[in-house]
């Protein structure tokens, strides 16, 4: 296998990992604050539709991105109302949100565009175009590093760079700021936060909102950068893979990057069975690769390979008690 194939493989790994990474970090904020979120999938899907729809109507991908984020945030707020304000079951709320998004996107798409639940294909300003980083063309000829820079690192859409920049930013927010300290505390012991005079509800809503924004970007990336338009159910389980990655990453930002890159690689390999055959000299079923993130997560959850300890107050609505 040649070097260029490898670069191509990694390039598509990055593209496939980006929405996973964004959704995974979204879930990280929410779950670190003690709000389980199995509605990542639905939020991504809603965002994917609304960004593509608004981008198609206005011709501006940026307006599309905003609309996608707004849709995702709206679902986040719904999750917040159910699980924070009304102290409902967070898992059931997440399930409901996934279905709500799956149904509404098609319903609205059909109403707006009459194309069988899809948006028109996006063109020009309606999509996030690849960005060529400075000197990418000049350096392409440099052996080894040149192709890595010009092919692998350069040439992605702006959202890819946003996603990767979010990793250190998330780490910094969580572990170096007051907000981060309180966020982590509220996911571990909300009573400690409450008695310290800080609003549990406020913090959790903040976390849920950040989750919505990040899911919004993830969804917008799907329909306006990775693809050119929305199709029914286009999130295709990515929200659940992101959830798997979050557990795999033990709720840590840097690990989230590694986990989503790994799962992105599985995705990339699924489309290039020849590459695996070259490497291990054996044919691997596509279905196995597709299921691998889930299988690995189950193994992690089983605690056979390092124990994944979720935030202690996760999933529990906070009720004041004496």
């Amino acid at each position: 296998m040649d070097f260029l194939t490898l670069i191509q493989l990694f390039d598509s790994t990055i593209r496939l990992a980006t929405p996973l990474l964004l959704a995974c970090l979204a879930g990280l904020f929410s779950e670190r604050a003690g709000i389980f979120d199995i509605g990542l999938e639905g939020k991504m899907l809603a965002a994917a539709f609304f960004s593509a729809a608004i981008a198609a109507i206005t011709g501006s991908v940026w307006l599309g991105l905003l609309a996608g984020m707004a849709a995702s945030v709206a679902l986040s707020l719904l999750h917040g109302v159910a699980s924070i304000t009304f102290r409902g079951n967070q898992l059931i709320s997440g399930v409901a949100i996934n279905f709500l998004a799956a149904g509404l996107t098609v319903l609205i798409a059909q109403d707006w565009f009459q194309q069988g639940g899809r948006t028109p294909s996006l063109m020009g300003g309606g999509r996030f175009e690849p960005i060529t980083l400075p000197f990418a063309e000049n350096l392409a000829a440099v052996p080894f590093l040149g192709p890595i820079y010009s092919e692998l690192i350069s040439g992605h859409s702006i959202l890819v760079y946003v996603a990767f920049a979010m990793v250190p930013l998330t780490w910094w927010i969580l572990f170096r700021t007051r907000f981060g300290l309180r966020l982590r505390a509220v996911g571990e012991n909300p009573a400690a936060v409450d008695t310290a005079g800080v609003s549990v509800v406020g913090l959790r809503y903040a976390a849920v909102l950040i989750c919505g924004i990040l899911c919004g970007i993830a969804g917008a990336y799907l329909s306006t950068a990775l693809q050119a338009g929305f199709v029914k159910d286009m999130s295709a389980g990515r929200g659940f893979i992101a959830l798997a990655a979050l557990i795999f990453a033990k709720w840590r930002p840097w690990y989230a990057l590694y986990a989503t890159l790994l799962f992105g690689l599985f995705g990339a390999l699924e489309t290039r069975p020849d590459v695996i055959q070259n490497i291990i000299g054996m044919k691997v079923q596509g279905q196995l690769l597709g299921a691998l993130p889930y299988i690995m997560t189950v193994i992690i959850l089983a605690g056979f390979v390092g124990k994944a300890v979720p935030p202690r107050a996760g999933g529990e609505p906070y009720v004041k008690e004496r």
Binding site: F175, R178, E188, T195, G197, R322
Partner: protein, 508 residues
């Protein structure tokens, strides 16, 4: 000299939770630089009152004055700003954070952590020197003992410049030695001009530590007196509303053969901490053996092992036959088959399913017994009949088998449990905290039932943190401390003082 304003003054505080009136027109004045005790039974409304003062609940009526100023306390932040700090019974610490992180949480300086942590480290050193409260700032909370964790809670309050410190049942989890240490710290704080409110249901602590004491009963403040002008007997009377003679009418025991024989019993809990460290104990037929001790010294684990839901090493035999401590037979069902009844320490958590009806709860633990089956199915009618009889014999009110357990009062819930366990005619009855949260009327009844079972020649192992109860009920007392049995006494030949020393780990 002009009269100094009280540090805290509450006027006419009332608070209801649904139909329950938790606080009724309560007024209290706490003078600065004093330790003011608030005493009352469980459920008397002490914690509710303090939660109102700390902004956890909003009073329905009434006013709060801090240092003479009328103050609104809508939330904890307002309480903190008013100089109030609270140490809760269950600590409010983030277990996997360091001491320092816990201390700054909610009181950070600015958006970034680094400067806040540096500042807190410095202040912590100062506080240490001022009050002798040393704690490693970088230790993670879950690695610290309870005494240390409580210290962190106190430091949290002091770091927030609290002038008024409220402690809610602070010694519940402490050993007597740790409790003494706590009281020394409180003395020191008082010397530095802090005002301290100590909430407890333990008379001894009130007498030892406070300057003034207020007594609460059923949501009302019944009296406020100078501690030096009162006696434990008077306080007890004020607490329960009538003269209590915590004496149970019983004949001297006539112990028979050894029923329960425990040898070298060790229990290691899920956190790999050894809770019971090799104890030997015997209980004979026709006697009540009481286990005294501060909560958390291994008594609960002992009951769990005997009740069949914790594993242990060592040997336990019942009427000469060994009990399985680790294998397939180490479960509640096998224990019941062997004739061990168990009234658990926490009836709401373990002894009952609160959502189940009284009749379903009467079958609890015995639901597989033959009397309750008809063929493959449960004989619900038989269970209901059985329950109706039990409710009558044990005077459960209201005597309605269909009512959910949560609809009964604490005393009546306990009677449901007791009826279930006693009427099985067990060889050995395990009883944990039989009268916790039970009204006075029911206490006597419950004690009588336990004594009656003894008089039938059954063996009874009683665990209680209430020394008075142990002394009144048990024929023989064993004191547990730190997983060991510190000593055994005939209850007729000992007193609270001697047992108190044993509970503190001092003595033979």
């Amino acid at each position: 000299m002009a009269e100094t304003a009280p540090a805290i003054e509450l006027k006419g505080i009332s608070k209801a939770f649904g139909p329950v009136q938790a606080n009724k027109d309560i007024s209290i004045r706490v003078m600065p630089g004093t330790i003011h005790g608030i005493i009352g039974e469980n459920g008397a409304g002490k914690s509710t009152l303090m939660s109102i003062l700390y902004g956890f609940y909003k009073a329905d009526k009434g006013e709060i004055f801090i240092a003479g100023q009328k103050t609104e306390i809508p939330d904890s932040q307002a309480a903190i700003s008013a100089g109030i700090g609270m140490v809760f019974q269950h600590f409010k610490l983030v277990e996997n954070f360091t001491v320092l992180e816990n201390i700054i949480l909610g009181a950070e300086d600015g958006g970034l952590l680094r400067p806040s942590l540096a500042k807190a480290r410095k202040s912590l050193l100062e506080l240490e020197q001022e009050y002798g409260l040393n704690v490693d700032p970088d230790a993670v909370i879950e690695d610290l003992g309870v005494g240390m964790q409580q210290r962190v809670e106190i430091l949290k309050a002091l770091y927030r410049k609290a002038d008024i410190l409220i402690l809610d049942e602070p010694t519940g989890v402490l050993t007597p030695a740790e409790a003494d240490q706590l009281f020394r710290i409180l003395d020191r704080l008082r010397e530095e001009g802090k005002t301290i409110i100590l909430i407890t249901h333990k008379l001894r602590e009130i007498m030892e530590a406070t300057d003034t004491v207020s007594v609460m009963r059923r949501g009302e403040m019944t009296a406020t007196v100078k501690t030096s002008d009162t006696s434990p007997a008077e306080l007890a009377e004020l607490m329960v509303g009538r003269k209590v003679l915590l004496r149970v009418d019983k004949k001297p025991a006539t112990p028979g053969d050894v029923v329960l024989d425990i040898k070298g019993l060790r229990v290691v809990d899920e956190q790999k901490v050894e809770r019971v460290k090799g104890i030997d104990l015997q209980v004979r037929a026709g006697e009540i053996v009481g286990i005294a001790g501060v909560a958390g010294n291994g008594q609960s684990e002992l009951l769990e092992v005997l009740g069949g839901y914790a594993k242990a090493t060592g040997s336990v035999s019942l009427n000469g036959e060994a009990l399985d401590l680790t294998g397939k037979e180490a479960d509640g069902r096998s224990r019941r088959k062997r004739g061990i009844g168990h009234v658990p320490e926490d009836r709401q958590r373990e002894g009952l399913i609160m959502d189940f009806s009284a009749w379903e709860n009467t079958a609890f633990g015995y639901h597989r017994s033959e009397a309750y089956q008809s063929g493959l199915l449960l004989n619900n009618a038989a269970i209901r009949d059985d329950t109706a009889g039990k409710m009558e014999r044990f005077d459960v009110r209201p005597p309605n088998p269909a009512l959910a357990a949560k609809s009964f009062s604490g005393g009546n819930q306990q009677k449901v449990v007791l009826a279930r366990e006693i009427e099985r005619n067990p060889e050995l009855l395990l009883v944990g905290q039989p009268t916790r949260g039970v009204d006075i009327g029911a206490i006597e009844f419950i004690h009588q039932q336990i004594v009656a079972l003894r008089d039938q020649g059954k063996a009874i192992l009683l665990v209680s943190v209430e020394l008075e109860e142990i002394l009144a009920l048990a024929d023989r007392v064993a004191v547990m401390f730190d997983g060991h049995i510190m000593g055994e006494r005939q209850s007729a030949e000992t007193d609270e003082k001697e047992l108190g020393l044993l509970m503190a780990g001092v003595g033979s």
